[in-house]
Symmetry: C2
Subunit: 322 residues, 2 copies
């Protein structure tokens, strides 16, 4: 995050604003919180800038395995997919699991078969070659580090060519970009919803499932309480059920901002700094966010605002951004 080039930061902020604007369009047209949250996440899956959909990071085998989920506050409806390949919009597939099956979660080949049966778009030549070059760089860095060698030595051994990616790889320690995307929304009927999508973590073991598709961990949404989504080290987030904790805290005192801070404090108490962050919307549309990392892109829009507000760094709060 820190160490992003100015070009990447611009692309990143544009991607965040675009996602919030996609959600805004749904809400302004009278759509539901669920539709708005999904629209925002689809926008990020398609943009290629974030670690979800097109921009998903790769497993240790150089493959893409994505997780995604949705939750609708009105009936606690849940749809989730885990460890899926090639589906263009995993968050849309999650919604189909919720709406068109008797189940809440489908994984791997079963999820892909369902996607095919339902006519979902699949990506071809996925991951793209540029992503594979980045993968080689990360592997080289990891192997070099493990062997106590320089990155140049590691790259030479792998025969990898980084090209344009080289600067980014050098600045981006392996596994240190958890740009899982998520959105929460609150609609004019008072409904809340959460949606989340991710490629997981760089060089994860094939089959690894993180917090994103796990209810209570990567997302949670209950009408009259609130909705929350998380990003960060899934293996820590799930061990404190961070999103369920956020919503439980909102139910206790009503303040989404305080609830997010309390949840991240709990996370830090158990697992130390640099673990992740959460965003939340409360039962009357109030917003909260908190992180214990060096940055987390976030964007928000509410009725009456001319344009979506965007922020990335810890010291950049909603007020300054608005």
């Amino acid at each position: 995050m820190r160490g992003m080039t100015p070009e990447r930061e611009t692309r990143y902020r544009d991607g965040l604003r675009s996602a919030a604007s996609a959600g805004r369009a749904i809400l302004e047209a009278g759509g539901s919180a669920m539709d708005a949250a999904i629209a925002a996440v689809v926008d990020m899956e398609n943009g290629g800038t974030f670690n979800a959909g097109l921009g998903s990071c790769l497993t240790s085998a150089g493959t893409v395995e994505m997780d995604a989920a949705v939750m609708r506050g009105s009936d606690r409806g849940i749809g989730a997919v885990a460890s899926i390949t090639s589906v263009a919009n995993p968050v849309e597939l999650s919604r189909a699991v919720m709406d068109r099956t008797p189940h809440c979660m489908l994984a791997a080949d079963g999820a892909l078969a369902f996607a095919r049966e339902q006519g979902f778009a699949l990506r071809e030549n996925f991951p793209p070659p540029s992503r594979l070059a980045e993968w080689e760089g990360k592997r080289a860095r990891l192997k070099a580090r493990a062997a106590g060698k320089t990155l140049e030595q590691g790259l030479a051994e792998l025969g990898g060519v980084l090209g344009d990616q080289e600067d980014e790889v050098r600045h981006d320690p392996v596994g240190d970009d958890h740009d899982t995307v998520g959105a929460v929304a609150f609609d004019s009927a008072g409904g809340v919803a959460a949606a989340v999508s991710t490629g997981g973590i760089w060089l994860k073991m094939p089959g690894r499932v993180g917090d994103s598709p796990l209810p209570g961990a990567g997302f949670w949404a209950v009408d009259a309480a609130g909705a929350s989504v998380a990003t960060g080290t899934g293996e820590s987030l799930m061990r404190v059920m961070i999103c369920k904790h956020v919503i439980d805290r909102i139910e206790s005192h009503g303040d989404p901002e305080r609830a997010c801070q309390e949840a991240v404090e709990l996370l830090e108490k158990h697992f130390g700094p640099n673990q992740g962050g959460v965003i939340a919307v409360g039962p009357r549309g109030g917003l909260g966010w908190a992180i214990n990392t060096n940055g987390m892109g976030r964007s928000m829009w509410r009725g009456g605002m001319k344009d979506a507000a965007v922020a990335v760094w810890p010291d950049e709060d909603w007020d300054r951004a608005r």
Copy 2:
């Protein structure tokens, strides 16, 4: 559950007692709560009587896809596997995910590759032919019911032969046996642990993941608070985070029995009767259980008891069983 033949009920009670005795042996030898909970679940995976391991129910495609998980209260360590085939003891594989990978959950092919790499035993000719006959009967029943036909007509169309399974199929409505197995344990050092394993639900869609491998839903364990595991309709259990709720309630008032009842009341409030049940151990080794179904096999042993106690029906409580 109701409608079990006397022979099946005997086998069922024997299986429960055997599992508790396997856990007891570990604890008497000074082993940890984690080892004891896993030993109990391994025993049920191997027995063939329950819906886990050898006795797993089948998907709509006639395949076995199992979910399992473990959680250690001391450090909230989690290991889980989802949608795995052929591994003899999914709960042991879950433990390996916790102890020998940087991750908490592996799914499908990635989990199987890890199992092979770690030398885990795989079952051959799995599912066994007897199970496939039962599968044909269930499919016939489901199709006949959907088409408004009698079971005989449905069977005739499928050409299925039930043989010895026929009585059981007739008494056992499709999807009404959620014999997910689980165990909680409390050791002499005050540690708690949870372990769970399942074949899921009969005729589930391939890839369907239930509550069992989802932290907070199918299991939860935190030292000085307690451990809990659940069984029932996963799609309902995960929408109230039932095991996390049990432990939160124990943290609030200290009584595992009351906590289990409160959790099942919450489940019933949202999803009606016949959804499932939970068992729990509290921070000082007290036990609790609650169901809103017509039965749930359970067994318990504590230091000083001559033999493990077993109960199946709702009106059969720990006291009567002891």
